[in-house]
Structures are given as C-alpha cells and as structure tokens.
Amino acid sequence: MHLFVIYTVTGITNGMVYAAVALALVMIWRATRIINYAQGAMAMFTTYIALVVIRHGAPYWLGFVVALATGMVLGAVVERVLVRPVESRPPLNAVILSLGVLILLEAVAPMLFGGQTQSFPVPVSNIDLVAGTTQLDISPFDLFTIGAVLIAMLLLFLIFQRTTLGLRMRAAAFNPEISRILGIRVGRMLTLGWGLAALLGALAGMLAAPAVYVYPSNMDEVLVFGFTGAIIGGLESPVGAVIGAVGVGLALSYVSGYVGADLAPLGGFAILIVVLMLRPQGLFSFGRQRQV
C-alpha cells in the first residue's frame, strides 16, 4: 500500500509535466492543425538557456523567467518565420518543418552548450517532506511542479475564456476567415498562440530537467508521453489532454514500479494502442473522426 502511494505521487507529478506538453500540443493543434514535434526540443533549448543564466550566478527564479520568456519568443518566431509561409499548403509541410526544427535545435544545442549531460538545480528541496515522524512521500519540488502547471493552466483558461484577447484567439482558431472579415488580425493571434504554447512547453522543460537532466534530446520521451496524453484526450480538448497526460504519468509510474523501470515506455505505448483501438477519436473528443 505504501508503495502504491509513492507510485501514485510520482505518477501525478510526472503526469503534470506531460500535461503541460500535451496542452501545448493541443493549443497548437486547435489553432493551426499542426502537431508541433519540435515542442520538446524547444523546451530543451530554453532549459539550456536557463542553465546558462543560473551557472552565471543568477538565482534560479531569474533562469525560470528567462526560460519562459525565451520559450514564448521562440514559439512566436517559429510560427511567424517558418510555419506562416507554408500555412496555405497541405499540413504535412508544416509537420515536416516542425521535425526540421526538432533536428536543428538538437544539433545546435551541443554546439552552443556542450553535448555532455548536465544536472539541473531545483528551486526547492526534492527530498520528501516529513510531518512529525511520518514520511509524506511528496517533496516540495513535487508540490512546486504540480502547483506551477496548475497555475499555468488556470491562467491560460482565464486568458482564453475571460479576456477579449482570448476571445479573439479562440475565434481565429475556430474560424480564421470569418475572424478576418470581422477585423481580427488572425496572423497575430496565431503567433501569440504559438508563443503561449511554447511558454507552456518551456515550463515543462524546467520542471522535467532536474529528473531527466539536461542534454540535447532530454525532452524526447517527455514529448512522446505528452503526445500520448494529448491523443488519449482527443487532441481537441484541453481538459482531455490534461487528464490523458496524468493518466499516462500514473500508468508509467505503476508499470515502472511494479513491473520494472525498463518497461515503463512500453506501458505508455500500450495505453496509446489500446485507446486508439477502442476509441480512435480519443476519450474526450466529440464530433467528427480525425483523419489520419
């Protein structure tokens, strides 16, 4: 029973990191009908930048802010410079382009930051809390991870649902042509959407780094698990993506705890396959079937 609690806490914590990636993927999918395979590599890159900032003596929090800010800029630049020109072409063009960005970033990172694996600091202790004599099985960093992703989600929800900027962004994503004839600058909204998604990705990068360490492909697995969560959630639904990603986190944690850590990635794929076989549109998708 005690082990179950430990695996559950680990699963939820990791799942929240996957959820941030999943949500970023869903935001971009909804706005531009593209799977951004570079999401993980972009997060890797901004984590490196944070590491450079921190290594130069700056406090963790400055590195944190710099990572999120450069993430947002990077996302906006990728949309504006690379994705926009192929916007009217078949979606495969943009998908290949995002794979190109992934390869480029993973190739450039070792040139700029060195190829060796580096450790990454935590802002708060990652040793489990103790209340009196009882071990609580959850560390301050776990709480920080869960809290940071929850706050980011809440802020995004408020931006999208409660501000006119969010209304514009939703309209531009749902119906770009109608939005344009209503005077909405759809291009800017898409750039901003990519920026916000990449900011969320950068957050995931910062939260994953202490555990997965920092190296050019450190986010590959996180991206795959986040992607799995997003697919399970139906790719359309932000809530579905979060639930799907946390589910993936839990499943991986149980598999790795009870069966063996080597098999954990297989567990992720097993869920993906089962979900796609039983409900190919995802668990939280209503309406049209997705075309593969």
Binding site: L167, R180, I181
Partner: protein, 235 residues
C-alpha cells in the same frame, strides 16, 4: 458610397468577374441578382479582400480597398454577412456579437452597439449565452447581420441572406434591414438568388450573368416589367 469599377477576377484561367462596375450609394440597397455561378459571391469576397482581383478598383469614399487585407477592410467600415451565415458556432451568441466590434478601441461604444444588436433582433437576447451551433437558421442570420452591425459599418455586404429561411421570417429580417439603411445611411449590397425577395426591398438592381453585368435598373422597374423580369430573372 461604394464604387466598384472594372473589377476583374480570375480563378486560374477561369474568369469569374469580367470588368464589373457597380456603385452603391449611401442610404440605399443595391441588389445583385443572378444564377448560381454568375459571380455574385466572388464579388462580395473580392470587396472584402478575401479574393484578390486581377484588376479594377473598389473605392469606399476616397479609400481604395483593392490590395488591402480583409481585416483592414473590415476596420475601414465594410461589414460582410457571408453566405451560410458565417457565425462562429463554437462561441456563444454574445461572444459572436462581441467579435463584431472587438477591434474598436472604445469599450463603452462596443457595449452600446451590442445592446443595439439585441434591440434589432430581440430573439437573440434570450439566447445570448447559448452556443451559436444551437441556433435556428433564422437566428443565425439575425446573429450574422447583428454582428456586422456592431462594427458600425458604412457598407454592408449581404450574401444570400434568404438561404434556408422561411418566407415570413425572411420578410421580417428584410424589414429590419430596410429600417437600418435609412436610419444609419448604410450602403447595402444585397446578393440574392431569390430575386423576388431582393427586389421587394432593393432600390436598384444589377443582374450578373457569367461574371458580366447584364442589366442595371431600378428595382421597381425590374420588378414591374414582366418582359424584363422574365427574360433576366426567369419568373
């Protein structure tokens, strides 16, 4: 005043509009009639910037619209009610109306304009927080026109508002439209396949055929002259 002159549009090598010239004076409705494929929808899409013309000009007052983006044209005062309503069905009625005036700087103005849209089409008010996908055809049309009006346009382009509407409801919406035109001194370009309905509210009418202007006359005369009506409109 909207002044369309020598507008030519081609899709690939196919000419969709061939040197079309139409002027739409303020405070009046100009109907553009014609069969399917006559180029009616291409005409409004070109005016609102969604289609780039090969040549010709569209002047709104002293502003040239050709070459500007759809969002810039909307901000200059061209309201477009697209074919098939063009509401954003994932958003609520209220959100759709807000979209109409989002680019306007003055928030108070926006609220007044949305309130006016509800007064114009009271059925929308009771359904304000309903997702637009749940609206009936008539309500969608009201929402689309109401939303265009929220931006206080100088020109209103209506693309087949009669599509899928019952006669009584259509007449009601058209009546509101006529009242708006005089009240706000609007220039309206009314695209219709339903010539009977269009001629009953329009001041002037233009008949398009295969991308060319076939006939241009006052709506009253076109409606009243059996021979003309029969020859050009088939009823």
């Amino acid at each position: 005043m909207l002044e369309i002159s020598d507008l030519t549009v081609a899709y690939g090598g196919v000419i969709a509009l061939d040197k079309v010239s139409i002027s739409v004076p303020e405070g009046s409705i100009t109907a553009v009639l014609g069969a399917n494929g006559a180029g009616k929808t291409t005409l409004v899409r070109t005016i609102s910037g969604l289609v780039k013309p090969r040549q010709g000009s569209v002047m709104l007052g002293d502003q040239q619209l050709v070459g500007r983006s759809p969002e810039a044209i909307a901000r200059l005062g061209v309201g477009h009610v697209p074919e098939g309503h063009g509401i954003v069905s994932e958003l609520t009625v209220d959100e759709n109306l807000r979209l109409g005036g989002l680019w306007r700087r003055d928030r108070a103005d926006q609220r007044v304009a949305i309130e006016e849209a509800y007064e114009l089409f009271p059925p929308l008010r009771v359904r304000r927080s309903v997702h637009a996908s749940n609206l009936s055809g008539g309500e969608r049309q009201m929402l689309s026109i109401g939303r265009a009006m929220v931006a206080s346009p100088a020109v209103l382009l209506l693309d087949e508002p009669s599509l899928g509407l019952a006669g009584g409801l259509l007449a009601q919406i058209m009546q509101r439209l006529v009242a708006l035109v005089t009240e706000r001194n609007l220039s309206v370009l009314l695209i219709e396949q339903n010539a009977r309905s269009a001629l009953s509210v329009a001041d002037r009418a233009v008949v398009l055929s295969l991308g060319r202007v076939e006939l241009r006359d006052s709506a009253g005369r076109l409606a009243g002259d059996d021979a003309l009506r029969h020859a050009y409109l088939g009823f």
